[in-house]
Symmetry: C2
Amino acid sequence: MPVEDQELKKAGLKVTLPRVKILQILENVVDRHMTAEDIYQALRDAEEDVGIATVYRVLTQFEAAGLIERHNFDNGPAVYELDRGEHHDHMVCTETGKVIEFHDADIEKIQERIAKQNGYDLVGHSLVLYVKPKS
Amino acid sequence: MPVEDQELKKAGLKVTLPRVKILQILENVVDRHMTAEDIYQALRDAEEDVGIATVYRVLTQFEAAGLIERHNFDNGPAVYELDRGEHHDHMVCTETGKVIEFHDADIEKIQERIAKQNGYDLVGHSLVLYVKPKS
DNA sequence: ATGCCTGCAAAGCTTTTGCAGATGC
DNA sequence: GCATCTGCAAAAGCTTTGCAGGCAT
């Protein structure tokens, strides 16, 4: 059984063509951050008849299952990326739109500390740096 | 001349009733983070006939003029807050929706360093901690 | 056979825009 | 008086949902 099928089963989802295809696309794409529309276009390029509504439904299910992550950058549509289990944050170039991933243990630690100091548990965070090429 | 009028003039905007009222609302509201809809409702409560389109237009102008800041928390509408010149980030309680402001000099410094290390200048950032009451 | 899944189209929600009239300077 | 501003309504952009039929198990 292909790897994708196992991942879907493990997530409690039936193995259907749209789900397998979308998972494959997310696994093979070069720029790992895609919008629902990007995925929809990739499916059409591959001659697959999948509706945009299904794309959104599948992405929502994948996110709930922990297979992917959804990010809302400043304006514009949400982007999705495969969850490879290595947490990271994002840097977005305001001139080219390029997305760079990074991770910093100190920032993570400080966030935990700040939440605690305010009487809360940290359940998630969103950190996006907006940058432009060094002048 | 009222303070609001001066601020508008300084921003190069004509002193009109919708602009003055919206600025006053943002200055006086207790919870400093409001959506466009919140502001629209506040105007209607005050019997002011201002359209929602004007609210959005004025907020966009205020943001461009540096009078206010716009934030996009996870989903849902954007929230606006007066810019008091003290930069801060936000913590949002996932159970109550409460917004807490915080500032951490170390995080700010590390962000600068990360951008530089990647060959970029930092032009802005968005950091939101999602938290829940300590269990 | 059954219940989950899908495509289509329509609706939903937030935000933007075109236009004709109103207002500030 | 003239440019800017405003309200209204319509449109735009992204995402969700209702429904009738289709598919996996």
